[in-house]
Protein backbone atom coordinates (compact mmCIF):
# COMPACT_ATOMS: atom_id res chain seq x y z
CA UNK A 1 0.00 0.00 0.00
CA UNK A 2 2.62 2.58 1.04
CA UNK A 3 4.64 1.61 -2.01
CA UNK A 4 1.92 3.22 -4.12
CA UNK A 5 2.33 6.34 -2.10
CA UNK A 6 6.10 6.34 -2.21
CA UNK A 7 6.20 6.13 -5.99
CA UNK A 8 5.30 9.77 -6.36
CA UNK A 9 7.96 11.13 -4.03
CA UNK A 10 9.85 14.15 -5.28
CA UNK A 11 11.13 15.81 -2.13
CA UNK A 12 14.01 17.96 -3.22
CA UNK A 13 16.54 16.90 -0.60
CA UNK A 14 19.95 16.27 -2.11
CA UNK A 15 20.50 12.56 -1.72
CA UNK A 16 23.59 11.21 -0.07
CA UNK A 17 25.44 14.53 -0.03
CA UNK A 18 29.11 13.68 0.38
CA UNK A 19 29.83 16.32 2.99
CA UNK A 20 27.89 18.43 5.44
CA UNK A 21 27.64 22.08 4.48
CA UNK A 22 27.53 23.49 7.99
CA UNK A 23 28.92 20.67 10.09
CA UNK A 24 26.12 21.04 12.61
CA UNK A 25 26.04 18.81 15.68
CA UNK A 26 28.12 15.68 16.07
CA UNK A 27 27.76 11.95 15.59
CA UNK A 28 25.69 10.31 18.34
CA UNK A 29 27.13 7.37 20.24
CA UNK A 30 25.42 4.00 19.92
CA UNK A 31 24.35 4.43 23.54
CA UNK A 32 22.74 7.82 22.81
CA UNK A 33 20.62 6.22 20.08
CA UNK A 34 19.81 3.15 22.16
CA UNK A 35 18.69 5.35 25.07
CA UNK A 36 15.84 6.71 22.93
CA UNK A 37 14.30 3.25 22.92
CA UNK A 38 13.18 0.95 20.10
CA UNK A 39 11.50 2.03 16.87
CA UNK A 40 9.39 -0.73 15.37
CA UNK A 41 8.58 -1.28 11.71
CA UNK A 42 5.69 -3.40 10.41
CA UNK A 43 8.21 -6.00 9.23
CA UNK A 44 9.35 -6.39 12.84
CA UNK A 45 12.50 -4.36 12.33
CA UNK A 46 13.54 -2.85 15.65
CA UNK A 47 11.62 -5.24 17.90
CA UNK A 48 13.90 -5.98 20.86
CA UNK A 49 14.65 -9.33 22.52
CA UNK A 50 12.08 -10.68 24.98
CA UNK A 51 8.97 -12.83 24.74
CA UNK A 52 5.63 -13.59 26.36
CA UNK A 53 2.41 -15.55 26.05
CA UNK A 54 -1.24 -14.63 26.51
CA UNK A 55 -1.22 -16.72 29.67
CA UNK A 56 1.47 -14.49 31.16
CA UNK A 57 -0.20 -11.48 29.62
CA UNK A 58 -3.42 -12.14 31.51
CA UNK A 59 -1.58 -11.29 34.73
CA UNK A 60 0.16 -8.25 33.29
CA UNK A 61 -3.19 -7.01 32.00
CA UNK A 62 -4.99 -7.55 35.31
CA UNK A 63 -2.26 -5.76 37.23
CA UNK A 64 -1.38 -2.95 34.84
CA UNK A 65 -4.15 -2.37 32.31
CA UNK A 66 -7.56 -3.57 33.53
CA UNK A 67 -7.98 -0.55 35.85
CA UNK A 68 -8.52 1.64 32.80
CA UNK A 69 -9.51 -0.73 30.01
CA UNK A 70 -11.78 -2.99 32.08
CA UNK A 71 -11.25 -6.61 33.18
CA UNK A 72 -12.26 -7.89 29.76
CA UNK A 73 -10.66 -5.00 27.85
CA UNK A 74 -14.09 -3.77 26.82
CA UNK A 75 -13.17 -0.21 27.68
CA UNK A 76 -13.62 2.19 30.59
CA UNK A 77 -11.38 5.22 31.08
CA UNK A 78 -9.36 3.92 28.16
CA UNK A 79 -10.85 2.62 24.91
CA UNK A 80 -12.09 -0.93 24.20
CA UNK A 81 -9.28 -3.18 23.01
CA UNK A 82 -11.45 -6.08 21.80
CA UNK A 83 -14.46 -6.56 19.59
CA UNK A 84 -15.84 -4.80 16.57
CA UNK A 85 -14.90 -7.48 14.06
CA UNK A 86 -17.11 -7.20 11.00
CA UNK A 87 -18.36 -3.75 12.02
CA UNK A 88 -16.15 -1.52 9.90
CA UNK A 89 -18.46 -1.31 6.91
CA UNK A 90 -21.59 -0.81 9.02
CA UNK A 91 -23.25 2.38 10.22
CA UNK A 92 -21.70 1.87 13.66
CA UNK A 93 -18.07 0.83 13.17
CA UNK A 94 -16.14 -0.23 16.27
CA UNK A 95 -12.41 0.26 15.80
CA UNK A 96 -10.24 -1.83 18.11
CA UNK A 97 -6.91 -3.64 18.12
CA UNK A 98 -8.82 -6.70 16.93
CA UNK A 99 -11.06 -5.17 14.31
CA UNK A 100 -8.99 -2.32 12.93
CA UNK A 101 -5.26 -2.38 13.62
CA UNK A 102 -3.36 -3.69 10.56
CA UNK A 103 -0.15 -4.80 12.32
CA UNK A 104 0.57 -6.55 15.63
CA UNK A 105 3.99 -4.88 15.63
CA UNK A 106 2.23 -1.53 16.04
CA UNK A 107 0.43 -2.81 19.12
CA UNK A 108 3.76 -3.76 20.67
CA UNK A 109 5.26 -0.41 19.69
CA UNK A 110 2.34 1.57 21.10
CA UNK A 111 2.01 -0.32 24.37
CA UNK A 112 5.78 -0.08 24.81
CA UNK A 113 5.88 3.67 24.18
CA UNK A 114 2.60 4.85 25.62
CA UNK A 115 1.08 2.36 28.07
CA UNK A 116 0.21 2.14 30.89
CA UNK A 117 -1.14 5.60 30.14
CA UNK A 118 -0.16 7.00 33.54
CA UNK A 119 3.26 5.33 33.67
CA UNK A 120 4.55 4.62 30.18
CA UNK A 121 7.98 3.01 30.07
CA UNK A 122 7.37 1.00 33.24
CA UNK A 123 6.92 -2.43 31.63
CA UNK A 124 9.78 -4.76 30.68
CA UNK A 125 9.96 -5.66 27.02
CA UNK A 126 8.79 -9.18 27.88
CA UNK A 127 5.81 -7.80 29.79
CA UNK A 128 4.91 -5.83 26.67
CA UNK A 129 5.13 -9.01 24.55
CA UNK A 130 2.90 -10.74 27.12
CA UNK A 131 0.32 -7.94 27.23
CA UNK A 132 0.19 -7.86 23.43
CA UNK A 133 -0.10 -11.66 23.26
CA UNK A 134 -3.05 -11.40 25.65
CA UNK A 135 -4.77 -8.73 23.54
CA UNK A 136 -4.25 -10.84 20.42
CA UNK A 137 -5.68 -13.85 22.25
CA UNK A 138 -8.73 -11.93 23.49
CA UNK A 139 -9.37 -10.96 19.88
CA UNK A 140 -9.06 -14.54 18.68
CA UNK A 141 -5.87 -13.83 16.77
CA UNK A 142 -3.37 -15.88 18.83
CA UNK A 143 -3.52 -18.98 21.00
CA UNK A 144 -3.15 -18.80 24.76
CA UNK A 145 0.28 -20.36 24.89
CA UNK A 146 1.63 -19.02 21.62
CA UNK A 147 4.96 -17.32 22.30
CA UNK A 148 5.22 -13.79 21.01
CA UNK A 149 8.68 -12.44 20.31
CA UNK A 150 10.39 -10.32 17.66
CA UNK A 151 10.02 -13.06 15.03
CA UNK A 152 6.55 -14.43 15.73
CA UNK A 153 4.93 -11.05 16.32
CA UNK A 154 6.04 -9.84 12.89
CA UNK A 155 4.41 -12.95 11.38
CA UNK A 156 0.99 -12.34 12.94
CA UNK A 157 -1.57 -11.49 10.30
CA UNK A 158 -4.11 -9.06 11.71
CA UNK A 159 -7.68 -9.44 10.41
CA UNK A 160 -7.68 -5.91 8.98
CA UNK A 161 -4.20 -6.08 7.42
CA UNK A 162 -5.56 -5.13 4.00
CA UNK A 163 -8.00 -2.58 5.37
CA UNK A 164 -5.95 0.51 4.61
CA UNK A 165 -5.85 2.35 1.30
CA UNK A 166 -4.08 5.51 0.07
CA UNK A 167 -5.64 8.94 0.41
CA UNK A 168 -8.28 9.32 -2.31
CA UNK A 169 -8.67 13.07 -2.25
CA UNK A 170 -9.69 15.25 -3.96
CA UNK A 171 -12.78 13.07 -4.10
CA UNK A 172 -15.80 15.36 -4.08
CA UNK A 173 -18.01 15.32 -7.15
CA UNK A 174 -19.81 18.55 -7.91
Amino acid sequence: MWKVLSAALLFSVVLGAQSAKYGAGRAPSAEEIRALGPTVGPDGRGLPPGSGTAKQGREVFAARCARCHGDKALGDVGPALVGGKGSLATAKPVKTVGSFWPYATSVWDYVNRAMPFDKPGSLTHSEVYSAVAFLLHLNGIAGETEVMDAKSLARVRMPNRDGFVPDGRPDVKR
Partner: protein
Protein backbone atom coordinates in the same frame (compact mmCIF):
# COMPACT_ATOMS: atom_id res chain seq x y z
CA UNK B 1 -12.82 84.41 26.71
CA UNK B 2 -10.20 83.56 29.31
CA UNK B 3 -11.82 85.85 31.87
CA UNK B 4 -15.23 84.31 31.35
CA UNK B 5 -13.85 80.84 31.88
CA UNK B 6 -12.17 81.81 35.09
CA UNK B 7 -15.29 83.54 36.33
CA UNK B 8 -17.36 80.42 35.53
CA UNK B 9 -14.85 78.24 37.27
CA UNK B 10 -14.82 80.46 40.31
CA UNK B 11 -18.58 80.39 40.46
CA UNK B 12 -18.68 76.60 40.24
CA UNK B 13 -15.88 76.28 42.78
CA UNK B 14 -17.80 78.47 45.15
CA UNK B 15 -20.83 76.28 44.81
CA UNK B 16 -19.10 72.87 45.09
CA UNK B 17 -15.85 73.76 46.80
CA UNK B 18 -13.93 71.05 45.04
CA UNK B 19 -11.07 70.49 42.57
CA UNK B 20 -13.42 68.49 40.35
CA UNK B 21 -15.65 71.45 40.00
CA UNK B 22 -12.70 73.71 39.46
CA UNK B 23 -11.59 71.71 36.38
CA UNK B 24 -14.89 70.25 35.19
CA UNK B 25 -13.39 66.76 35.01
CA UNK B 26 -12.37 63.90 37.31
CA UNK B 27 -8.83 63.88 38.66
CA UNK B 28 -6.89 60.96 37.28
CA UNK B 29 -5.06 58.33 39.24
CA UNK B 30 -1.82 56.82 38.01
CA UNK B 31 -1.91 53.63 36.01
CA UNK B 32 -0.07 50.47 36.98
CA UNK B 33 3.72 50.66 36.69
CA UNK B 34 5.88 48.78 34.21
CA UNK B 35 5.66 45.03 34.24
CA UNK B 36 8.21 42.40 33.28
CA UNK B 37 5.73 40.22 31.44
CA UNK B 38 2.56 41.59 29.87
CA UNK B 39 -0.98 40.58 30.71
CA UNK B 40 -4.09 41.33 28.66
CA UNK B 41 -6.72 43.76 29.93
CA UNK B 42 -8.85 42.35 32.75
CA UNK B 43 -11.84 43.28 30.56
CA UNK B 44 -10.74 40.80 27.89
CA UNK B 45 -11.86 37.30 28.82
CA UNK B 46 -11.84 34.78 25.95
CA UNK B 47 -10.23 31.47 26.88
CA UNK B 48 -9.77 28.03 25.33
CA UNK B 49 -12.62 25.59 25.86
CA UNK B 50 -11.64 22.13 27.00
CA UNK B 51 -13.39 18.98 25.94
CA UNK B 52 -14.66 16.98 28.89
CA UNK B 53 -12.53 13.88 29.44
CA UNK B 54 -11.38 11.63 32.26
CA UNK B 55 -7.84 11.85 30.91
CA UNK B 56 -7.17 15.54 30.26
CA UNK B 57 -3.56 14.66 29.36
CA UNK B 58 -4.97 13.04 26.22
CA UNK B 59 -7.37 15.83 25.37
CA UNK B 60 -7.84 18.99 23.37
CA UNK B 61 -8.60 22.65 23.95
CA UNK B 62 -10.01 24.94 21.30
CA UNK B 63 -9.13 28.46 20.14
CA UNK B 64 -11.88 31.09 20.58
CA UNK B 65 -11.83 31.87 16.84
CA UNK B 66 -14.71 34.33 17.07
CA UNK B 67 -12.74 36.42 19.56
CA UNK B 68 -9.56 36.79 17.52
CA UNK B 69 -8.79 39.56 15.04
CA UNK B 70 -6.67 39.27 11.91
CA UNK B 71 -4.86 36.02 11.22
CA UNK B 72 -2.50 35.49 14.17
CA UNK B 73 -3.71 33.42 17.09
CA UNK B 74 -2.30 34.68 20.40
CA UNK B 75 0.07 31.96 21.62
CA UNK B 76 -1.85 31.65 24.89
CA UNK B 77 -4.98 30.81 22.90
CA UNK B 78 -3.44 28.41 20.36
CA UNK B 79 -5.40 25.17 20.33
CA UNK B 80 -3.90 22.21 22.16
CA UNK B 81 -4.03 18.53 21.39
CA UNK B 82 -1.88 16.18 23.39
CA UNK B 83 -1.84 12.45 23.94
CA UNK B 84 0.21 12.27 27.13
CA UNK B 85 0.30 15.75 28.64
CA UNK B 86 2.76 18.60 28.16
CA UNK B 87 6.32 17.71 29.18
CA UNK B 88 8.42 20.26 31.00
CA UNK B 89 11.67 20.22 29.03
CA UNK B 90 14.90 22.02 29.91
CA UNK B 91 16.13 23.23 26.51
CA UNK B 92 19.74 22.94 27.67
CA UNK B 93 19.22 19.19 28.03
CA UNK B 94 17.09 18.61 24.93
CA UNK B 95 18.65 16.76 21.99
CA UNK B 96 17.51 15.94 18.47
CA UNK B 97 18.89 12.70 17.02
CA UNK B 98 18.81 12.11 13.26
CA UNK B 99 19.72 8.54 12.35
CA UNK B 100 18.82 5.58 10.14
CA UNK B 101 19.40 5.79 6.40
CA UNK B 102 21.80 8.75 6.54
CA UNK B 103 25.48 9.18 5.77
CA UNK B 104 26.14 11.08 8.98
CA UNK B 105 23.93 10.38 11.98
CA UNK B 106 23.62 13.55 14.06
CA UNK B 107 22.86 14.58 17.59
CA UNK B 108 22.10 18.26 17.98
CA UNK B 109 21.61 20.58 20.92
CA UNK B 110 19.17 23.46 20.70
CA UNK B 111 22.17 25.78 20.37
CA UNK B 112 23.44 23.73 17.43
CA UNK B 113 20.04 24.09 15.78
CA UNK B 114 19.58 27.80 16.42
CA UNK B 115 23.00 28.57 14.91
CA UNK B 116 21.85 27.25 11.53
CA UNK B 117 20.20 29.48 8.93
CA UNK B 118 16.56 29.96 9.97
CA UNK B 119 13.39 31.41 8.52
CA UNK B 120 10.17 32.83 9.97
CA UNK B 121 6.87 32.12 8.24
CA UNK B 122 3.17 32.41 9.01
CA UNK B 123 1.29 29.11 8.89
CA UNK B 124 -1.92 27.68 10.24
CA UNK B 125 -2.02 24.47 12.20
CA UNK B 126 -5.17 22.36 12.27
CA UNK B 127 -5.94 19.11 14.04
CA UNK B 128 -7.01 16.37 11.63
CA UNK B 129 -10.05 15.91 13.86
CA UNK B 130 -11.15 19.56 13.79
CA UNK B 131 -14.91 19.88 13.18
CA UNK B 132 -15.17 16.09 13.20
CA UNK B 133 -18.60 16.35 14.86
CA UNK B 134 -19.95 17.82 11.63
CA UNK B 135 -19.69 14.45 9.86
CA UNK B 136 -22.64 13.19 11.88
CA UNK B 137 -24.11 16.66 12.37
CA UNK B 138 -23.45 16.30 16.09
CA UNK B 139 -22.74 19.97 16.10
CA UNK B 140 -21.22 21.98 18.89
CA UNK B 141 -23.09 25.17 19.79
CA UNK B 142 -20.39 27.59 18.70
CA UNK B 143 -17.52 28.03 16.26
CA UNK B 144 -14.94 27.68 19.00
CA UNK B 145 -16.00 24.18 19.92
CA UNK B 146 -16.70 23.05 16.36
CA UNK B 147 -13.84 24.72 14.44
CA UNK B 148 -11.40 25.81 17.16
CA UNK B 149 -8.79 23.07 16.71
CA UNK B 150 -7.17 25.42 14.21
CA UNK B 151 -4.83 28.33 14.90
CA UNK B 152 -2.26 30.40 13.04
CA UNK B 153 1.17 31.63 14.15
CA UNK B 154 4.41 32.99 12.88
CA UNK B 155 6.86 30.11 13.26
CA UNK B 156 10.65 30.35 13.28
CA UNK B 157 12.94 27.44 12.60
CA UNK B 158 15.52 25.70 10.47
CA UNK B 159 14.31 24.19 7.18
CA UNK B 160 13.99 20.43 7.62
CA UNK B 161 15.70 19.96 4.27
CA UNK B 162 18.82 21.74 5.53
CA UNK B 163 19.26 19.30 8.40
CA UNK B 164 18.48 16.26 6.25
CA UNK B 165 21.21 17.43 3.87
CA UNK B 166 23.56 17.87 6.78
CA UNK B 167 22.88 14.26 7.68
CA UNK B 168 22.99 13.09 4.04
CA UNK B 169 19.86 11.07 3.24
CA UNK B 170 20.73 7.80 1.52
CA UNK B 171 19.16 6.65 -1.73
CA UNK B 172 16.10 4.48 -1.05
CA UNK B 173 15.00 6.46 2.00
CA UNK B 174 11.32 7.34 1.71
CA UNK B 175 10.07 8.08 5.21
CA UNK B 176 10.93 9.86 8.41
CA UNK B 177 9.80 8.47 11.72
CA UNK B 178 9.34 11.55 13.90
CA UNK B 179 9.27 11.04 17.64
CA UNK B 180 8.42 13.38 20.49
CA UNK B 181 9.82 13.53 24.00
CA UNK B 182 6.41 13.48 25.67
CA UNK B 183 5.38 10.61 27.95
CA UNK B 184 3.93 8.57 25.05
CA UNK B 185 6.85 9.41 22.75
CA UNK B 186 4.37 10.34 20.02
CA UNK B 187 5.48 8.79 16.76
CA UNK B 188 4.33 9.48 13.24
CA UNK B 189 5.64 8.32 9.86
CA UNK B 190 6.27 11.28 7.59
CA UNK B 191 6.57 10.61 3.86
CA UNK B 192 9.50 12.33 2.15
CA UNK B 193 7.01 14.12 -0.08
CA UNK B 194 7.38 17.39 -2.02
CA UNK B 195 5.40 19.23 0.67
CA UNK B 196 8.35 18.79 3.01
CA UNK B 197 10.05 21.58 1.07
CA UNK B 198 8.11 23.89 3.40
CA UNK B 199 8.85 21.94 6.56
CA UNK B 200 10.67 23.49 9.49
CA UNK B 201 12.22 22.29 12.68
CA UNK B 202 10.56 25.11 14.58
CA UNK B 203 11.77 26.64 17.82
CA UNK B 204 9.96 29.99 17.67
CA UNK B 205 6.30 30.98 17.75
CA UNK B 206 5.03 34.55 17.43
CA UNK B 207 8.35 36.09 18.32
CA UNK B 208 9.19 33.98 21.35
CA UNK B 209 10.25 30.40 21.97
CA UNK B 210 7.51 27.82 21.30
CA UNK B 211 4.98 27.54 24.07
CA UNK B 212 5.33 24.26 25.99
CA UNK B 213 1.97 23.09 24.68
CA UNK B 214 3.23 23.70 21.13
CA UNK B 215 6.36 21.60 21.53
CA UNK B 216 8.95 23.65 23.41
CA UNK B 217 11.79 23.58 22.69
CA UNK B 218 11.47 22.01 19.20
CA UNK B 219 8.71 20.72 16.97
CA UNK B 220 8.31 19.47 13.46
CA UNK B 221 6.24 21.84 11.34
CA UNK B 222 4.92 20.47 8.05
CA UNK B 223 2.72 23.35 6.85
CA UNK B 224 -0.55 22.29 5.27
CA UNK B 225 -0.67 18.83 6.81
CA UNK B 226 -2.78 17.68 9.75
CA UNK B 227 -1.51 18.76 13.16
CA UNK B 228 -0.77 15.34 14.63
CA UNK B 229 2.03 14.61 12.16
CA UNK B 230 3.82 17.82 13.18
CA UNK B 231 5.37 16.10 16.15
CA UNK B 232 5.98 18.29 19.19
CA UNK B 233 8.94 18.06 21.59
CA UNK B 234 10.82 16.51 18.68
CA UNK B 235 13.69 14.29 19.84
CA UNK B 236 14.22 11.89 16.96
CA UNK B 237 14.04 11.64 13.19
CA UNK B 238 14.65 8.11 11.97
CA UNK B 239 15.21 8.09 8.21
CA UNK B 240 13.92 4.86 6.71
CA UNK B 241 12.36 3.12 3.73
CA UNK B 242 8.97 2.18 5.23
CA UNK B 243 6.24 3.80 7.31
CA UNK B 244 5.91 2.31 10.78
CA UNK B 245 2.11 2.16 10.74
CA UNK B 246 2.06 3.66 14.24
CA UNK B 247 -1.07 3.76 16.35
CA UNK B 248 -1.70 7.43 15.57
CA UNK B 249 -1.69 6.86 11.81
CA UNK B 250 -3.69 3.62 11.77
CA UNK B 251 -6.06 3.43 14.73
CA UNK B 252 -6.36 7.23 14.72
CA UNK B 253 -6.19 9.94 12.05
CA UNK B 254 -7.17 7.53 9.25
CA UNK B 255 -10.44 8.07 7.40
CA UNK B 256 -12.88 5.15 7.48
CA UNK B 257 -14.89 4.85 4.26
CA UNK B 258 -18.35 3.28 3.91
CA UNK B 259 -16.82 0.11 2.41
CA UNK B 260 -14.88 -0.48 5.65
CA UNK B 261 -11.52 0.52 4.17
CA UNK B 262 -9.63 3.33 5.83
CA UNK B 263 -7.58 5.94 4.01
CA UNK B 264 -4.15 6.27 5.57
CA UNK B 265 -1.61 9.10 5.37
CA UNK B 266 -4.34 11.51 4.31
CA UNK B 267 -2.15 14.35 5.48
CA UNK B 268 -2.96 17.48 3.40
CA UNK B 269 -5.77 19.67 4.67
CA UNK B 270 -8.12 20.80 1.93
CA UNK B 271 -9.59 24.29 1.58
CA UNK B 272 -11.85 25.27 4.45
CA UNK B 273 -13.46 28.40 5.84
CA UNK B 274 -15.93 29.43 8.48
CA UNK B 275 -17.81 32.59 9.35
CA UNK B 276 -16.82 33.63 12.87
CA UNK B 277 -19.20 36.60 13.01
CA UNK B 278 -22.06 36.04 13.12
CA UNK B 279 -21.63 32.51 14.42
CA UNK B 280 -23.25 30.02 16.76
CA UNK B 281 -23.99 31.23 20.28
CA UNK B 282 -23.87 34.91 19.34
CA UNK B 283 -26.88 37.24 19.31
CA UNK B 284 -27.24 40.24 17.02
CA UNK B 285 -28.72 43.05 19.11
CA UNK B 286 -30.97 44.23 16.25
CA UNK B 287 -31.16 45.15 12.57
CA UNK B 288 -28.46 47.38 11.17
CA UNK B 289 -24.90 47.39 9.93
CA UNK B 290 -22.45 44.63 10.81
CA UNK B 291 -19.14 43.36 9.46
CA UNK B 292 -19.44 39.70 8.54
CA UNK B 293 -16.00 38.14 9.04
CA UNK B 294 -14.25 34.82 9.29
CA UNK B 295 -11.22 32.74 8.45
CA UNK B 296 -10.22 30.64 5.45
CA UNK B 297 -7.24 28.34 4.93
CA UNK B 298 -5.91 25.58 2.74
CA UNK B 299 -3.05 23.14 2.99
CA UNK B 300 -2.57 23.40 -0.76
CA UNK B 301 -1.10 26.89 -0.97
CA UNK B 302 -3.01 30.15 -1.26
CA UNK B 303 -6.68 30.82 -0.68
CA UNK B 304 -7.66 32.63 -3.87
CA UNK B 305 -11.31 33.43 -3.18
CA UNK B 306 -13.84 33.50 -0.38
CA UNK B 307 -17.53 33.83 -1.13
CA UNK B 308 -20.47 34.39 1.19
CA UNK B 309 -24.06 33.29 0.91
CA UNK B 310 -26.97 34.89 2.73
CA UNK B 311 -29.64 32.63 1.24
CA UNK B 312 -28.50 29.19 2.34
CA UNK B 313 -26.22 28.62 -0.64
CA UNK B 314 -28.52 29.66 -3.51
CA UNK B 315 -26.33 32.62 -4.43
CA UNK B 316 -22.80 33.68 -3.52
CA UNK B 317 -21.01 37.02 -3.34
CA UNK B 318 -17.27 37.55 -3.12
CA UNK B 319 -15.87 38.70 0.23
CA UNK B 320 -12.84 40.96 0.63
CA UNK B 321 -9.69 39.22 1.86
CA UNK B 322 -7.11 41.05 4.00
CA UNK B 323 -3.72 41.37 2.31
CA UNK B 324 -1.06 40.16 2.26
CA UNK B 325 -2.12 36.52 2.08
CA UNK B 326 0.38 33.77 2.83
CA UNK B 327 0.37 30.19 1.55
CA UNK B 328 -0.79 27.66 4.17
CA UNK B 329 -1.86 30.45 6.50
CA UNK B 330 -5.17 31.81 7.78
CA UNK B 331 -6.79 34.37 5.50
CA UNK B 332 -9.14 36.90 7.09
CA UNK B 333 -12.22 37.75 5.05
CA UNK B 334 -14.78 40.47 5.61
CA UNK B 335 -17.91 42.01 4.19
CA UNK B 336 -20.12 44.85 5.41
CA UNK B 337 -23.70 43.62 5.81
CA UNK B 338 -26.91 45.37 6.67
CA UNK B 339 -29.25 42.99 8.49
CA UNK B 340 -32.91 43.70 7.88
CA UNK B 341 -34.00 41.68 10.91
CA UNK B 342 -35.36 38.74 8.89
CA UNK B 343 -34.11 35.16 9.41
CA UNK B 344 -31.12 34.35 7.21
CA UNK B 345 -28.91 31.33 6.58
CA UNK B 346 -25.34 32.32 5.86
CA UNK B 347 -22.02 30.59 5.15
CA UNK B 348 -18.60 31.07 3.59
CA UNK B 349 -16.91 29.05 0.87
CA UNK B 350 -13.18 29.06 0.07
CA UNK B 351 -11.38 28.35 -3.20
CA UNK B 352 -7.66 27.62 -3.32
CA UNK B 353 -4.94 28.06 -5.94
CA UNK B 354 -5.48 24.54 -7.31
CA UNK B 355 -9.06 25.52 -8.21
CA UNK B 356 -10.48 23.32 -5.45
CA UNK B 357 -13.73 24.71 -4.05
CA UNK B 358 -14.79 23.97 -0.49
CA UNK B 359 -17.61 21.41 -0.74
CA UNK B 360 -20.92 21.18 1.07
CA UNK B 361 -21.35 18.71 3.90
CA UNK B 362 -23.69 16.68 1.65
CA UNK B 363 -21.00 16.37 -1.02
CA UNK B 364 -18.48 15.20 1.55
CA UNK B 365 -20.88 12.67 3.04
CA UNK B 366 -21.70 11.41 -0.46
CA UNK B 367 -17.99 10.83 -1.07
CA UNK B 368 -16.95 9.48 2.32
CA UNK B 369 -19.99 8.52 4.35
CA UNK B 370 -20.55 9.69 7.91
CA UNK B 371 -17.91 7.68 9.78
CA UNK B 372 -14.63 9.02 8.47
CA UNK B 373 -14.25 11.25 11.51
CA UNK B 374 -11.31 13.31 10.33
CA UNK B 375 -10.54 16.02 7.76
CA UNK B 376 -14.01 17.58 7.61
CA UNK B 377 -13.87 20.76 5.51
CA UNK B 378 -17.50 21.28 4.53
CA UNK B 379 -19.32 24.57 4.19
CA UNK B 380 -20.62 25.66 7.60
CA UNK B 381 -24.12 27.11 7.64
CA UNK B 382 -25.26 29.48 10.39
CA UNK B 383 -28.87 30.56 10.90
CA UNK B 384 -29.60 34.04 12.20
CA UNK B 385 -33.11 34.02 13.65
CA UNK B 386 -35.51 36.97 13.68
CA UNK B 387 -34.53 37.34 17.34
CA UNK B 388 -30.88 37.76 16.28
CA UNK B 389 -29.85 34.44 17.86
CA UNK B 390 -27.27 32.53 15.76
CA UNK B 391 -27.47 28.72 15.68
CA UNK B 392 -26.41 25.66 13.71
CA UNK B 393 -28.50 24.71 10.70
CA UNK B 394 -27.54 21.08 10.20
CA UNK B 395 -28.26 18.76 13.08
CA UNK B 396 -29.75 21.65 15.04
Amino acid sequence: MKRTNRRDALRLGAVLGSGLAARGEEPRSLGTPLSAYGERSPFVKPVRTMRQTKTPEAGSSATPLADTYGIITPSSLHYERHHAGVPNIDPARHRLVIHGMVERPLILTMDDIRRLPSVSRIHFLECGGNSGGEWQAKNQPDVQRSYGLASCSEWTGVPLRLLLEEAGVKAGAKWLIAEGADACKMQRSVPLAPELDYALLAYGQNGEPLRPSQGFPLRLLTPGWEGNVQVKWLQRLLVTDQPHMTRDETSKYSDLMPDGKARIFSLPLEAKSVVTFPSGGQTLPGPGLYEVTGLAWTGKGLVTRVELTFDGGASWVEARMDEPRFPRAFVRFRMPWRWDGKPVVMASRATDETGYVQPTREQLVAARGMNSGYHFNGIKLWRVGADGVVTNVEGA
